[in-house]
């Protein structure tokens, strides 16, 4: 890896041309305090001489004590207008990775994107992010990215490749050949227009949508029952009762960030709310959403339809509508039916199944409940998933028949993630022209003739309409790192259109969106939209559509005939971290502990404890599934008996050093039914092969052992007494004694409150923190030794019956104790207390006795066991499994945070760099700090607003208010370590 552009400005400019006048002009530059003008301009007096002398000696000391010389630092000779060294610049943009969407702000430093934050202006994501969004900035610096276009295995220039492709395309068109664009669902209005441009030239172009994990059944069901092939909007915030059948809407289902915000809105109790939604969840494996439910019912995948049918019947019994004969339900749904009906128009039933009959029944049930027009909105559909699985099926058929002449593959990797991967490959061989736009040489691209690498989204212009009427823009935050070109520009070029895509988008927006608003000048509209990142038109009001009920009976009948499937059943799911595997080469995501299993760097077959006992299996024992695939098992409490769940997204072979050969690929396993991939596999044969594949878990003990760690109560009890479940806190407060007084804090006293009722355990904060604080990646081997480095972790505990336990999540970071046990024992005083109540680490003073970590009751301290960051002076000892120390990936490092060397302890600093930054801002502006102005990375990223940071000395701050909430307690408060972090008790909406 030789030279990379350190910034946009460097790119393409000859250093000789650069003028040196404008260096360091910014008045409020943080370093300005050091270069006090009075010193620089002052005449040489003895005092000034001594000052400068002292400064140069100090500098010399600092420089000479730095063991690694910095030899690549190139200063700005001309300071770009919008860049101030040492100051971050934020750009509004959109994160789009196939069907994942998030409106974001990109934080750049000196021209490098280093962090993704949520955009609060978006009414879809409302400032929330997901782990995949947070981690996507690292994918920008992926060393596997193609650096040049490739034609038949060799790198070519764009001109050459364009010439060849245009020639071949033209030939196909003139021969009336078939051109197909295989793409993940496109919800960018401009891209659609670009494709139209292309179609003008090549009439035969057919677009086939392909989503590896599709929502076909929902779309088809709505087509059947409402004659509208779409995914409706769901309003979880309007639902008093939510019944979900395997829809992991907080984790992976359709629009999880949005749904999380909605869901949590109805579950917060911090502002005197008296109600909470009730959430009932049926599912096979333990999902993030299921683990948050008030009532969770493990079921076999094949039972879902039967239960739905019974629920339908139960509802009809009450409402008096027609009911149909069904097999008996394995679970009692009478009560659930009553609860739903008692909250008619305020209830919502969703299903994550991709089974058409199931989805039709869900629609029928929602119809009975009056959900349409209230909690479900067909007028504002989602556009992020449009694929119907059968379309891809027919494409593969045509390919195999030899009737496709050109295949353009954009944002799709069917060789890896399709259920008919092998016939796709044979079909592909029969396609004469195969063009891929993949940015890496992935499984599919490597089989294509031409690879025209697309930009990373942080290098691209684009727009998006994830939901009808909700537009957002994507803008580049860095110049192209490599010789890549946006897909849209390639298509435009091949269509003979020379417009730049940026201009193209502008013209689309001017024509289509500009009229939908009131600003008189397009320029202003465009700038405003670009600045905000979004543009939203007033949505059409939700209405009660007409329900076509003729599909209900056939659906129930079909279910009845599907009966009697015996044996194991597998349910396939997406992980919150890896999803469909697109970002499998992202080490942050690979090392993110799964919210439920807390496993990193693997997929596995979840199995119920009872089943494991019967089969005499322990964690990591490898089983053979249908003699086609071998997977280690993981004993997952709450997994339905006689089922397995396995995650998609693993077992990649051509994603790169990090993601290759992690886990097994299960995309080829499911089958298609009624045009929809089932995401389940019934009647599975399972056998142990007597081999153990150890799994790396960051948490290996799952019970609280009766300790008052996560305190909880029920809504009923809480309404009676807000202190319920938290009595111990008041007991401890009363008995609090100390042999010495606390040191007073000067000015601020930083603190944090985590609302355990809001926290859904998604783990997003873990990645946000990792990105913000340069937390190293350690790899599976180290993780297996319990040496993960993340500064914040989500503890997950089970309670009750292992076959269906209650789950609690608790984010734990450094508690910044005022009587910190870690500080006492450090021999070198490398960890001590700041005057603002922070427990601070002085990395260069740390010798690594690790006593602080031993004495930390929360075990939040992390140690650099090896040279993970290539920051120590000893050569040839770097321990870098994920290539995080190569120059390219180092561009993601936050320059405000020290990169820690081997042998040094580290831990959560409460983002002290952010605190200092905002304090400086306030100081420069001559005003006091505003409450909530400082946002730690975890707080900023949290989609459920569960984390609040602030000044406890400010009596009016939110954090002070919550600290005095009756639900507030401190973790392990009986130890009298006086933590600065508070937790609010978890309240469940259940009968005691």
């Amino acid at each position: 890896m030789d030279n990379y552009w350190q910034s946009i400005e460097e790119y393409g400019k000859d250093p000789k041309e650069l003028d040196r006048k404008a260096e360091f002009t910014e008045e409020n530059h943080p370093l300005a305090e050091m270069f006090d003008k009075s010193i620089i301009n002052a005449p040489a007096s003895r005092r000034n001489f001594l000052k400068m002398f002292g400064f140069s000696i100090a500098t010399a000391t600092v420089v000479s004590s730095c063991k690694n010389s910095v030899n690549k630092a190139i200063p700005y000779l001309i300071k770009p207008e919008e860049i101030t060294p040492g100051k971050a610049t934020f750009y509004a943009s959109s994160y789009m990775d196939s069907s994942d969407y998030c409106s974001i702000l990109v934080k750049t430093r000196e021209g490098r994107p280093i962090k993704i934050e949520g955009n609060t202006l978006s009414s879809i994501t409302k400032g929330g992010t997901s782990a995949k969004t947070q981690a996507s900035v690292l994918s920008l610096y992926d060393t596997e990215r193609l650096q040049n276009p490739i034609a038949k295995g060799t790198e070519k220039s764009w001109n050459e490749i364009d010439k060849d492709i245009i020639k071949e395309l033209n030939k196909i068109s003139s021969d009336k050949g078939n051109i197909v664009l295989l793409t993940s669902s496109i919800y960018s209005p401009s891209t659609k227009k670009v494709i139209e441009q292309f179609r003008k030239k090549h009439n035969s172009l057919k677009v086939v949508n392909y989503d590896p994990v599709s929502a076909s059944a929902i779309i088809l069901a709505n087509k059947n029952t409402f004659n509208k092939a779409l995914i409706p909007s769901y309003y979880f915030n309007k639902a008093a009762v939510i019944v979900s059948f395997g829809a992991d809407f907080l984790g992976t289902w359709i629009s999880p960030i949005e749904f999380t915000r909605q869901y949590v809105q109805n579950r917060k109790l911090t502002n005197g709310e008296k109600t909470m939604s009730r959430h009932i969840h049926f599912e096979t494996g333990m999902s993030l959403t299921g683990s948050n439910a008030d009532k969770r019912i493990p079921i076999k995948p094949s039972d879902e339809g039967i239960i739905l049918a019974n629920l339908y019947n139960e509802l009809t019994k009450i409402t008096g509508a027609e009911s149909f004969s069904t097999p008996e339900s394995p679970v009692n749904i009478k009560e659930i039916a009553n609860e739903l009906l008692n909250n008619k128009t305020k209830s919502l039933v969703v299903s994550g199944s991709n089974n058409l009959s199931n989805q039709i029944l869900v629609n029928a049930i929602n119809n009975l409940l009056g959900s349409y027009g209230n909690t479900i909105d067909l007028n504002t559909p989602f556009l992020i998933k449009q694929a119907i699985d059968s379309d891809f099926n027919s494409l593969v058929q045509s390919m195999n028949e030899g009737s496709i002449d050109a295949l353009l593959i954009y944002n799709a990797n069917p060789v890896y993630n399709s259920f008919i991967s092998s016939s796709f490959i044979t079909g592909l061989e029969k396609v004469p022209l195969k063009i891929s736009f993949a940015s890496t040489l992935d499984e599919t691209a490597s089989l294509c003739d031409y690879v025209c690498p697309d930009n990373h989204y942080l290098e691209s212009w684009n727009d998006a309409e994830p939901k009808k009427g909700f537009y957002s823009l994507m803008q580049p935050t860095i110049a192209n790192l490599f010789n890549t070109r946006q897909f849209q520009e390639s298509i435009l070029t091949w269509a003979g259109n020379t417009t730049k895509y940026h201009d193209f988008i502008q013209s689309v927006w001017e024509a289509e969106l500009f009229p939908k608003q009131e600003m008189p000048l397009f320029r202003n509209f465009w700038n405003k939209s670009l600045q905000d990142g979004i543009f939203e038109v007033q949505p059409v009001k939700a209405s009660q559509p007409e329900f076509i009920d003729s599909f209900t009976k056939p659906a129930i009948d079909k279910l009845a005939s599907n009966q009697n499937e015996a044996g194991f059943e597998i349910s396939f799911y997406e992980k919150v971290s890896i999803g469909n595997g697109n970002q499998a080469n992202n080490p942050w995501l690979q090392e993110m502990p799964d919210p439920i299993s807390k496993i990193v760097w693997d997929n596995y077959a979840n199995i119920s404890p009872k089943q494991a006992k019967e089969l005499n299996l322990k964690n990591g024992d490898v089983i053979n599934i249908n003699h086609t695939i071998q997977l280690p098992i993981f004993i997952q409490p709450g997994q339905a008996y006689q089922t397995l769940s396995v995650a998609y997204g693993y077992g990649r072979t051509k994603t790169g050093k990090v993601g290759n050969k992690v886990g097994e690929n299960v995309f080829p396993l499911p089958t298609i039914k009624e045009g929809c991939i089932q995401n389940t596999l019934l009647n599975v044969a399972v056998s142990a092969i007597g081999f153990n594949h150890p799994l790396a878990m960051t948490q290996t003990h799952h019970s609280m052992e009766g300790r008052k760690i996560v305190r909880e109560s029920t809504l009923e009890k809480y309404l009676e007494d807000p202190k319920s479940g938290n009595e111990y806190h008041f007991e401890i407060e009363e008995e609090s004694t100390s042999l010495y007084k606390n040191h007073p804090t000067e000015g601020h006293h930083w603190g944090m409150v985590v609302d355990l009722n809001s926290c859904i355990g998604c783990g997003n904060c873990v990645i946000a923190c990792q990105a913000e604080n340069n937390v190293p990646v350690v790899g599976k081997e180290e993780a297996m030794k319990n040496r993960e480095m993340q500064w914040i972790r989500i503890d997950r505990y089970y309670n009750g019956d292992p076959e269906n336990p209650e789950t609690v999540f608790q984010p734990v970071m450094c508690q910044h104790c005022d009587n910190a046990p870690c500080e006492n024992v450090c021999p070198t005083a490398a960890t001590n207390h700041s005057s603002e109540g922070l427990n601070q680490m002085i990395y260069n003073r740390c010798v690594g006795t690790k006593y602080c970590a031993n004495n930390c009751p929360y075990k939040v301290r992390r140690f650099n066991w090896f040279d993970y960051t290539n920051a120590d002076a000893i050569p040839a000892n770097t321990h870098d499994v994920a290539g995080m120390t190569v120059d390219l990936k180092r561009m993601v490092l936050n320059p405000d945070v020290t990169v820690r060397a081997k042998g040094v302890m580290e831990k959560c600093s409460m983002c002290v760099q952010r605190i200092q930054e905002k304090k400086l801002d306030a100081k420069i502006e001559g005003r006091p700090l505003k409450d909530l102005e400082i946002q730690t990375a975890c707080m900023q990223s949290c989609p459920s607003n569960a984390i609040i940071f602030g000044d406890m000395n400010d009596k009016k701050s939110e954090v002070s208010r919550l600290m005095h909430n009756e639900r507030n307690y401190h973790l392990l408060e009986e130890l009298h370590v006086l933590p600065s972090v508070g937790y609010l008790t978890k309240i469940r909406n259940k009968k005691a």
Binding site: A829, G848, Y851, K859, R861, F863
Partner: protein, 453 residues
Amino acid sequence: MYVSPIREPLIKGEKSYQTITDEISAPIAGKPGPLWYAGITFSTLALLVGLYAMGHTVWNGIGTWGANRTINWGWGITNFVWWVGIGHAGTFISAILLLFRQKWRTSINRAAEAMTIFAVICAALFPVLHLGRPWLAFFMAPYPSTRELWINFNSPLIWDVFAISTYFTVSLLFWYIGLIPDLGTIRDRVTSKGKKAFYKFMSFGWTGSAKHWQRHESISLILAGLAAPLVLSVHSIVSMDFATSLIPGWHTTIFPPYFVSGAIFSGFAMVLTLMIITRRTLNLQQYITVNHIESMNKIIIATGSIVGVAYITELFMSWYSGNIYEQYTFLNRATGPYWWAYWIMMTCNVISPQLLWFKKLRRNLTFTFILSIFINIGMWFERFVIVVTSLHRDFLPSSWSMYYPSITEVGIFIGTFGIFFTLFLLFIRFFPVIAISEVKSVLKSSSEKFIKK
């Protein structure tokens, strides 16, 4: 000095002052046997293994050990405490037994003290090696740095630095002060020029003047008086590395006296192991008699029982406390994943020494030898139990984990044995193993020859 006739003689055989000199300095004057050569070869090999493992650790990082985010100390600190513990017998024998006027100490104090010093050297390696950045260990010294930052006097590790270095220095001085007259004896007996020059230098110009002897006696007594609380303080302070913390199983007030008695217990076990071999190979049976062995065994049973009482006190108090963390920790020790370590400790340290209530076994060399090795093992496991099982399941179950030692750690442990035995073998080759002058001073009161008269 009158000695009661019922006391057993401490020196057997017909000894005169000259025979004492001759017999004790024989190994220095003569050529070592093949056993010695075999021993030094083995121990040097072990030492080299250790050096390699240490280099590996410093180069690649402490990650080469088995510790993790929950159990940040493993074998390293276990070995440290174990070696320091072993290094307690010598000074205990010389100092406390001197204060209590136990004459039987004269035959074993020299070797025991040497053992103390070597054990402390082995021990002191670990606190440095277990650092993340051992080359910065000097940060723990209170020197005026440009950062104007001193050290944290609140930290038990700082107390440790001072305690171990003081202990080492004072033990070394005490040992050497005692050695000076005997080195004089050797100086006056060796014939080769090189040896003569060596011992001349080492004996610091000792003449045997009555005035010097008076000062020698005086300083020995006062140093003993200082060393006695020092012995107690060192292992007390080592115990503070644990007891000042919050960790259940560590934070317990009984630790200092319990650690001290445990240290003396293990130290005596090691002295027994070594002395039983040494007396045989160097033909010192008449100086280190079965009576000596029995006396040491009595100390073993006393300290072992104190340790046993401490175990039971801890166990009872953990229940009595009503503190769920304490209760769980002790339950986990006995029944958790490391139950075997706990029961090895219990068997070796509490149950097996009870056999010493039988006089026959107390005086049986083979039995004593085996038992002493048992105790060494048991005391190692005691430290392992304290360090690892307390940490591996502390307050938040989410962070519980397991500890498995790495091959590097094992290598370093083997290396410390190499260092210990190399030094010990060199010591018995070049220094008088028994305090010649002190034995002479008790000859008339405690030798077979004179008692019979």
